[in-house]
């Protein structure tokens, strides 16, 4: 990383009149590029909740008819913030059984690769939101990015993110530090308060999204770890037991940023369903595997590598497992799905359920009370909620 040095103050006085909407920077100004990355969840009354970003505000909307009609948007943050909402960055939304809404996001700061993890909640059904707070408690200007959020459905919350504090501290002492760290913030009172940040691991990949799911044994986190000097394979961790294990022996050794993370969901009997991307020595492309206790199924390849298949996410409920990812065929993006109704053993053929010819977010699978949907935000068509049979 590199730091912005102090700039001559004289530059400030006479040039700021030239600032226009065309000149943008992280941390201020409007991006001409729309923020397409959204999140969605479904509450106990079957309402679909959507979080999206417009003009540096997170907007929350809900729909009682599976996305055909949405409520008027309510802004979460009163003050505009540069919210990460493209690529591997997106605002996160979770809803509890009693209807409390929780949101986290990454505030991107002007200095390259720096940010803060932000949190807000609503206890009145999305009418109003609490003033955002910063969850990273180190007061350092460094990388706090790629947040993941999970609720147990009640008062427990877990948030994890990639954190540069240990790397920066090591560098200040003249030591080397590969990668960054994963930190976690927990709440046991529905987001009223958070415990002090806790480090889950050091030496992780710097710029892939993290993922969280909730099991009977508490939260489980997934991130792209650094094994050895630069092998960027995924780690699966249970913070409550302290157990951390490698998701797969992909052996992707590279001094690079894949910017391509994984996802996990919990199905029946606490079976974990994981999807990830690798270009490792042992396998290349998108993969799925089940994790039940100490047993893991063989990695199953999916997606068309010639169509840049990537950025898969997975949802699970009972024995239903739904994977969604995006492909590009040279002309159009396709939202792709794979479906299993027996807990991830037998899978449907891949389906291209929607397409678009312009910029697109990654498709997001949702399962609730046996109903399956894919939420896909695209520049041309807007947010589509596609029902699957």
């Amino acid at each position: 990383m590199f730091a912005w040095l102090a700039f001559p103050a004289i530059a400030m006085a006479h040039e700021h009149g030239h600032m226009s909407e065309g000149v943008t920077s992280r941390g201020m100004g409007k991006r001409a590029r729309p923020a397409l990355a959204v999140s969605a969840t479904i509450d106990s009354k079957n309402q679909l909740w959507l979080a999206k970003v417009e003009n540096q505000k997170i907007l929350v909307l809900h729909s009682a008819d599976n996305g055909q009609h949405f409520s008027s948007p309510v802004a979460v943050n009163a003050e505009p913030e540069n919210i990460g909402a493209e690529g591997e960055n997106r605002p996160k939304i979770a809803v509890t059984r009693n209807g409390t809404l929780h949101l986290t996001w990454t505030l991107l700061l002007p200095q390259p690769y720096t940010g803060e993890i932000r949190y807000s909640r609503s206890i009145d059904g999305g009418k109003t939101f609490s003033a955002p707070i910063t969850l990273n408690d180190d007061k350092r200007l460094t990388s706090h990015r790629f947040d993941a959020l999970i609720s147990d459905g009640g008062d427990k919350l877990a948030v994890v993110w990639l954190d540069g504090r240990d790397r920066d501290a090591a560098k200040e002492k003249g030591e080397t530090f590969s990668g960054v760290s994963v930190y976690m913030a927990r709440s046991d009172d529905g987001g009223v308060s958070f415990h002090a940040n806790r480090k889950l691991a050091e030496h992780t990949c710097e710029c892939c999204r993290t993922a969280l799911t909730w099991t009977a044994d508490g939260p489980v986190a997934l991130w792209r770890n650094l094994y050895g000097t630069n092998t960027r394979d995924f780690a699966l961790a249970n913070p409550d037991s302290g157990k951390v294990r490698r998701l797969a022996d992909d052996e992707w050794s590279i001094d690079a940023c894949p910017h391509h993370g994984g996802w996990i969901a919990t199905g029946d009997n606490d079976t974990l369903h994981a999807v990830w991307y690798t270009q490792g020595k042992n396998r290349q492309g998108l993969f799925y595997r089940r994790v039940k206790g100490d047993r893991m199924s063989a990695p199953m390849a999916f997606g068309n590598p010639l169509a840049q298949a990537g950025h898969a996410t997975v949802a699970a409920e009972g024995n239903i497992v739904l994977i969604a990812w995006r492909e590009f065929d040279g002309q159009s993006y396709g939202a792709m799905t794979l479906l299993s109704k027996d807990g991830g053993v037998i899978w449907s053929e891949p389906r291209r359920i929607a397409t678009t010819d312009d910029a697109a977010d990654y498709p997001l699978p949702l399962i609730h009370n046996g109903q399956m949907h894919v939420v896909w935000n695209t520049l041309r068509e807007g947010v589509r909620v596609i029902r699957l049979d």
């Binding site: 400030m12 700061l109 590279i254 690079a256 910017h259 590009f328």
Partner: protein, 155 residues
């Protein structure tokens, strides 16, 4: 923070006009670059100012080489977007690459541009292609190795 941003932005806006302009990279750009370098070797290197720390390592190396070799045949392509031009140019200047040929992705579908460079490239960065005289090219995933790059340049 906001004041700092204003200072930063004002400084960036005031950047001297001598810095090379960023060219907009579209799906026909690589063919034009290749035609311009016909019969000559060159390095095509992709990076991002928004999320790729390893790219800074690579650009630092390239900046070092450019300092001693004013005719380093280098083509830099940022996979960000034209809205990031100011911070891209600032970064290149800081790393001694203000005079390097620099492009920025200009397509709402970056996959289209990636496919025009290499359909098997999935977006990991940095990513480079070493073109020899006959334009047989060697893909390099990850940060370029200084020793290997120096020996390649001597060929």
């Amino acid at each position: 923070m906001r004041i700092f941003s204003l200072i930063l932005l004002a400084y960036l806006v005031a950047w001297p006009a001598s810095a090379a302009e960023l060219a907009r990279f579209d799906s026909g750009s690589l063919a034009k670059i290749e035609a311009r370098y016909a019969g000559k070797p060159f390095i095509l290197s992709m990076w991002s100012v928004n999320w790729c720390g390893h790219c800074i390592e690579e650009l630092t190396l390239l900046g070092k080489l450019a300092k001693t070799d004013k005719h380093l045949p280098l083509v830099l392509v940022s996979v960000d977007s034209p809205e990031d031009s100011v911070v891209i140019q600032k970064t290149l200047h800081k790393l001694g690459l203000a005079q390097a040929e620099a492009w920025v992705f200009n397509d709402p579908i970056p996959e289209r541009l990636r496919a025009s460079i290499d359909p098997s490239w999935q977006g990991d960065l940095p990513r480079s292609y070493l073109y020899d005289k006959a334009h047989q090219r060697q893909a390099v995933a990850g940060v370029l190795n200084e020793a290997k790059l120096r020996s390649w340049l001597k060929q």
